[in-house]
């Protein structure tokens, strides 16, 4: 099942499709440009799995997403960083407000951007190497900007009622129940 979000901006046309719904606690969606065969999240994981210096970190991150969030806990606040504009970076790093202390994967080199819809539904985007103190100064700047853009469109579609959150079934649905939405 997938949704098509047709827009007029840089990330013009993309599909919102299920990336992993096998976990007991959380369904993950991803975005895919309609002229591409590969989702943005798969592009991220394949890219860093192919680089020996990042392979271990990539597998740590994938295991964290699929098992810790997807299977064991869901998208609880404790496992998410603070929002960086419209999206949040995974894995959790520990730079949180005082009452939400976390400490996972210190000095982790990779960031995968995500949009938490509910505690049981998360959209994953692309990401990159966090090689600067901020997203703006890191080489993943473009991926972060693109993720924010995707997130804005999805958020607006939800607020406008084009996408319905079906919490009982842990899925996103078109307003008329169909699999495809054109905005």
């Amino acid at each position: 099942m997938y949704f098509c979000l047709l827009t007029n901006n840089i990330v013009n046309i993309f599909a919102l499709e299920i990336w992993d719904d096998e976990g007991a606690k959380c369904t993950f969606y991803t975005v895919k440009q309609l002229d591409s065969d590969v989702s943005e999240t798969d592009i991220f994981f394949e890219r860093y799995d192919a680089k020996p210096e990042y392979r271990d970190a990539n597998r740590d991150l994938l295991s964290f997403v699929v098992y810790a969030i997807g299977e064991d806990h869901g998208a609880v606040d404790e496992l998410f960083n603070r929002d960086e504009n419209e999206v949040t970076g995974l894995p959790v790093q520990g730079k949180r407000t005082v009452e939400n202390i976390t400490y996972h994967f210190p000095d982790f080199p990779l960031r995968l951007y995500a949009l938490k819809i509910t505690q049981n539904i998360v959209v994953l985007f692309n990401g990159g190497i966090k090689d600067g103190p901020t997203n703006q100064t890191s080489s993943l700047h473009l991926e972060w900007r693109a993720a924010c853009e995707y997130a804005k469109r999805i958020d607006k579609a939800i607020r406008d009622g084009f996408i319905i959150i079906d919490e009982a079934n842990r899925i996103l649905k078109n307003y008329d129940g169909s699999d495809v939405i054109i905005l």
């Binding site: 992993d20 597998r59 740590d60 295991s63 810790a68 064991d72 496992l79 520990g94 976390t102 400490y103």
Partner: protein, 133 residues
Amino acid sequence: MRSKVAQRILSETPEETKIFARLYADIVVRINQLLKENKLSQKDLAESMDKRPSEINKWLTGEHNLTLRTLAKLQAELGEPIINVPQRKPMHTGEGIKGSMTVYRNTVNTDVTYTKVWKRSKVKSKTTLANVS
């Protein structure tokens, strides 16, 4: 359905990597639950443990990995188990020891609300048994 790319990479991922990710997340969630339950901030924790805030910050913001000693200190301060090591218990029968069982004293589950006082669950009213004469 799971992404084929994710499936492939996970199939090549060492089991220890998967175990680490799950265990560490369990600990993160557990400690956060206990901090919230105890209404403790990082600063409060530092004061109550008679430590410098910077030292607590190092434990809690990932500047170094949590050690067993650190976990023990946190557990002592927070007053409840953070991690649990299962134990093997022998199973006895009338004819002597017949195997063993693994005993788990607690588990981490985000669906569970921890309360200090154990409350007995409400018992459903019993159905009256039919009179048998």
